[in-house]
Symmetry: C2
């Protein structure tokens, strides 16, 4: 196990491209839904968002596409919290297809806590959210990555 | 102008999330459609794909989300070719909303030329595609970036 299982989905037909595989952007949609699940897990759920006017914005996302995902696959997303501060979470998501030993994609995200009223501004997490993030980060530390992490992209001649 | 305008779209209602803005993954979908336009531009169009059994796979994508995109926005995508070799294209995409002086997102992609028959394998670009990519790269060299490029993601304390 390379992370906490946080989200699971089957493949919607409209996610397939002309190659018959999931289009690159829909790997990102699966990761995005997994980030929603992460929000629920740490106390930034719909009720919190309504009451506080605060939410998470994704400020950066770096994805490595390692394997094709097909129409009949079921995908599990696992998360590790790589870092956090008062306002931000740096998380690694891994997409794994049921029955496959290999990771289909790795996806690092940087999430920023933002309050939208009266105007959009960053804000510190509530205490109990800080504790929940810290707990996830503690359990993540021992878990290995199952694919490449973020790096500066460049074309190195082969 | 920070790149060649390659794709343009309005915002589909289903791209909006609970914040009323375009969900992170749909920035990626806009970038993905722009990559399709890039394929058309350099001769890897639908006819080529059908006849050759070859296409481009996205192997890596790194996005910076700089501004919210809203329901009524129209988005233009501009491309610069940062590098290329016999089988790969490293491109920078920029998403810009009409009427806004600021880039909404930057998105670097690494695209790999793959033939799907008889089994999936990488393959060199045809000569005329190499020439088209080289031409785009030449015109890209002088164009400045309008936002951050790919880098190793990390949480640096503020």
């Amino acid at each position: 196990m390379s992370g906490l299982a946080i989200y699971r989905t089957r493949i919607a037909p409209e996610w397939l491209d002309y190659n018959g595989h999931v289009r690159d952007a829909y790997y990102g949609l699966i990761a995005s839904y997994a980030s929603d699940s992460l929000m629920d897990r740490i106390g930034l759920d719909a009720r919190y968002r309504e009451q506080s006017g605060c939410t998470l914005y994704t400020v950066e996302m770096h994805t490595h596409y390692l394997r094709e995902i097909s129409a009949n696959d079921s995908v599990e997303v696992r998360v590790r919290v790589l870092g956090a501060d008062r306002k931000r979470i740096h998380a690694a998501l891994e997409l794994v297809c049921d029955g496959s030993p290999e990771t289909a994609a790795t996806c690092e995200v940087m999430l920023l806590h933002v309050c939208q009223t009266p105007t959009v501004h960053t804000a510190p997490f509530p205490e109990e959210v800080v504790a929940a993030i810290a707990e996830l980060q503690r359990t993540s530390t021992a878990l290995p990555a199952s694919g490449p992490g973020s790096r500066r992209m460049e074309l190195i001649s082969r």
